[in-house]
Point group: C2
Chain length 425, copies 2
C-alpha cells in the first residue's frame, strides 16, 4: 500500500464544502398542508394587517370613552344601547354621543367607539346601559395590524417550516408557499456478493443492507432517494451507474466500493467519468477509505461498505452537503450525556466516531456501550443508538468517562434562525 | 360562572389514558423503503442465518490449521495452491491435507479448511504457498449465523423503525414489514369569524390558523389528519361535524369551541352525541377550558382557540393518546437548558406551560424569553420555540433562573426500547 498523508476531519469537511459548493437547487410552490418539514425559498411579507380591523378584546359594550368619564357606582354613566355587532360580521351601527353597542371578544368595533367596557362593569336597564367604571380611550380594543402590519417581513428564506411557521402563513391568508426543491439522490451499492431482499440468496451471497439504509438516511435528511443498482466490483460497471446517477440525480452515493481491496475500482471509475477527486481518504475511523469527488458539478460520495460505517460517514460527510442543497444551514441530532460502560482505546492517529448503544445503568444514569464491529455487521448496526466523537491524539477513555452521545434519531434540521444554530453546536 | 374543582395536570392525564384506553388500530404490510418512521406491529424472527455461510475475514489462503502448526519464517509450511474462491460464488474446490485455496475478505470458506492465513504472512512460490505463521482453528473465519442465528428474535413489536432497524430487516432478506396503521384524525375549527386562506376575507373576519397547525401537529406526531370544516359557534353544527369525524376518523380534535364564552356550545354538542365527558377543564395554563370526551369508543378533544394554546394543549394532551394509537410508548422532544431572559409570574393555582423563544445571550449562553400572549396571537405563535413547565404552587421565577425548555421541533417518537424511555424523562 502506498503511504500518503490523508486529510484530517476538519480539512476534509472544508474541502467538501468549499469544492462542492452545495446550494439550493431550485424552488417549487406547495400548498400549506404539504409544506411541513420543507425549507422556505423566499421571504414572506404580510399582504394584510392582522387583525384586519379594530377588535373588541372583551365581551361588553363599545363606547366613546369620553361619555364614561367620571362614571362610578354612585353616579353611573347612562348610555343608550343602539345595537349589537355580531361576531364575524361588519359593524353596521355606529356609536354616537351618549350611545353604546354590544360587542363580544373578537368582534369588530363599531364606528365612533374608541373603548370597550366589560359586561361585568355595567347593568342593562331597559334600552339603557349603566356604566359603573370610566373607560380610557383604547381600553379593551385591539387596533388593526397590531399583531402583524401589512408589508412586515414575517418569515425569511431558509426558514425550516414547522406547524407554527406555517400557521403564521395561514393567518396571512396565503394558500401556498415557495420552498426549495428536495435534492434527488442516486444510491449505488457495490459488491458481487450482494443480493437485494426478496430475491433468492445463492451460495456465497449475502443480502444487501446499504441499498436501504442509505436511501432511508437520505429521506430522513430531507432528500429524495432512489436506488440505481449494484455494481459488481467492476470499475466500468460502477462508472456507468455513477454516470446514470449524475444524469438523474443531484448527488450520488455509492457504498462498498471504497474498501481497501477495491479502492482502485473507485478511482478507476471516477477517472473514467473525468471526476475531480476532492477527498481521497480521511483520518477518521470508521471512514478512512471515504472518497469524495465532483463530476458535472455534482457530488459523488464513495462510502465504506460496513453498514454502521456507511451510516456514520453518511451522517458526517454527506448530510452537511445534502442539507445545504435543501436550503438548510445543516442537520444535527439531539445529544445525550452518558457514562462509558466500557473503556475505549481509540485509533490515536484518527478522529474516531465510536458507535454506542445506550441503556440505563443500575443507578439510573445513562450508559453508553461501544458497539463492537468486527464480525457482527448487523448486530453493531441494530445496537447503535448514536456515536461518540474521540478526537485525534486521544490515547484512552476509561470506563465511566462522561461522554456526549449524538443520537442517530431524530434528525434535527437547522433552518436560518433555528435554535441549534444559536446554541452553536 | 359556576365554581367547580378542576382536575390537575396528572389527574387529567391519567383520566385521559385510563378512560380513552388508546391502543393500536390495526396493521398493514409496507415495503421496507416506505417503512421509515412507522412502528413495527409484530416481532421479526430471523428466517436465515446471517451470514449464511462460513466466510473468510481476511484476504489470504484458506488452510487446515493443523498443516501450519510449527510454521515459522525459518521453517515455513509449504501448501499446494489448488484453486480460488470468487467473491459471491460457491466454493467449488475443497482443501485437502497439505493444500490451500485463495480467498478474499467476505468470500465463502472452502470445504476442509478451518482457518485463513493472511496474505502478508505468506509467499507464493510457483504453485506452492509458503506460510510463515502457524494458524489456529477458526482464525480469520466467521462461522455461519455468528451475526444472527436463524430463529433469533431480531426486532420486536413496538419498535420505532429507523434506517438501522430496517437495515437489519433487509439483511434478513425480508421485503416488507408489518406496521401499525396510522391513526386518522379529523380536525374541526370553531368560530363564525374564521375564514380559510385562499378565500376572500369579509368584514369582521380573520384567517383561521388552527385548521392548519393542528393538522400539521398530527402529521408530525405520525397521524393522518384531514380537515372537516368550521363550526359557526352553534352546537348543532359542531355536533354534526363531530359525528362525521367519529365516523371517518379514529380521533377528533376541535379548537376554539371551548373558550369561556362558548363552553356551553361544546357541552351541548357533546351531549347531543351522547358522549362521555372525561375531562372538563384542567388546572393548567394555557388549556384551562380543555374538554376531553369519548363517543363510540373514540376520543374527542376540544382545545382552546388561541393558536399557541392549541399547540401546547395538543402536545400535552392529544399526543400521548395519538402516540399510543400509533403503537408508540409516547412522543417527546429534545430539551435544552437555558436561562430566563425575564421573570415569570405564574398562575400559582395551575400548572403553567410557558411558551418561550430561544436566543443566544451576550455571553454565549442560551436565553429563554417568555412569549407574551394577550393580543399577539401570531407573534407569540411564530416566536415560540418551545415551552417551560412551571408546576402549580410556584410563586415566581426570577430573571436568570435556569430552566429546561422542551422544544416543539423535532418530535421524538418513543418506541418499545428507545433511549428516551430508558432515560425516563
Amino acid at each position: 500500500m502506498r503511504t500518503r498523508l490523508l486529510m484530517g476531519l476538519q480539512e476534509a469537511l472544508e474541502a467538501i464544502i468549499n469544492t462542492l459548493e452545495p446550494r439550493p437547487l431550485g424552488t417549487e410552490e406547495v400548498r400549506l398542508e404539504e409544506a411541513l418539514g420543507r425549507v422556505l425559498a423566499e421571504d414572506v411579507e404580510a399582504p394584510i394587517d392582522v387583525p384586519g380591523f379594530r377588535r373588541a378584546l372583551m365581551d361588553g359594550y363599545a363606547v366613546r370613552a369620553q361619555d364614561t368619564f367620571g362614571a362610578s357606582v354612585e353616579e353611573p354613566a347612562r348610555l343608550k344601547l343602539v345595537g349589537r355587532v355580531e361576531m364575524g360580521q361588519a359593524a353596521t351601527v355606529s356609536v354616537g354621543p351618549g350611545e353604546c353597542v354590544e360587542v363580544s371578544t373578537g368582534s369588530m368595533l363599531p364606528e365612533g367607539a374608541d373603548a370597550v367596557v366589560r359586561l361585568e362593569d355595567t347593568v342593562l336597564h331597559g334600552q339603557d346601559v349603566l356604566v359603573f367604571e370610566p373607560a380610557v380611550p383604547g381600553q379593551n380594543v385591539m387596533e388593526a395590524g397590531v399583531d402583524i402590519k401589512a408589508g412586515e417581513l414575517v418569515l425569511r428564506a431558509g426558514d425550516f417550516l414547522t406547524p407554527q411557521k406555517l400557521g403564521v402563513v395561514s393567518a396571512l391568508g396565503l394558500r401556498t408557499v415557495r420552498v426549495f426543491r428536495r435534492p434527488r439522490v442516486a444510491v449505488i451499492s457495490t459488491g458481487v456478493e450482494l443480493v437485494r431482499p426478496g430475491e433468492p440468496l445463492g451460495p456465497g451471497k449475502i443480502y444487501d443492507i446499504n441499498w436501504l439504509t442509505v436511501q432511508l438516511a437520505v429521506k430522513a435528511a430531507g432528500g429524495e432517494p432512489f436506488f440505481l443498482g449494484t455494481a459488481r466490483d467492476d470499475s466500468a460497471e460502477l462508472a456507468d451507474l455513477m454516470a446514470e446517477g449524475l444524469e438523474k440525480a443531484d448527488l450520488v452515493v455509492a457504498t462498498g466500493a471504497s474498501s481497501v481491496g477495491s479502492s482502485d475500482v473507485v478511482r478507476d471509475a471516477l477517472s473514467r467519468l473525468g471526476a475531480q477527486v476532492v477527498v481521497d481518504g480521511i483520518r477518521v475511523k470508521p471512514g478512512k477509505p471515504t472518497v469524495v469527488a465532483k463530476a458535472g458539478g455534482k457530488p459523488i460520495f464513495c462510502l465504506p461498505g460496513h453498514p454502521t460505517s456507511a451510516l456514520i460517514t453518511f451522517t458526517v460527510f454527506v448530510e452537511p452537503v445534502l442539507a445545504r442543497m435543501s436550503g438548510l444551514k445543516g442537520l444535527t441530532r439531539p445529544v445525550l450525556r452518558a457514562r462509558l460502560a466500557s473503556r475505549i482505546i481509540p485509533d490515536t492517529g484518527r478522529h474516531n466516531f465510536v458507535p454506542v448503544s445506550l441503556s440505563k445503568g443500575p443507578d439510573g444514569s445513562l450508559l453508553a456501550r461501544p458497539v463492537l464491529k468486527g464480525s457482527g455487521a448487523i448486530t453493531s448496526l441494530s445496537h447503535a443508538d448514536g456515536y461518540i466523537e474521540v478526537p485525534e491524539g486521544t490515547e484512552f477513555l476509561p470506563e465511566g468517562t462522561e461522554v456526549e452521545v449524538k443520537l442517530f434519531w431524530p434528525p434535527w434540521p437547522i433552518g436560518r434562525s433555528d435554535i441549534e444554530a444559536h446554541v452553536g453546536r
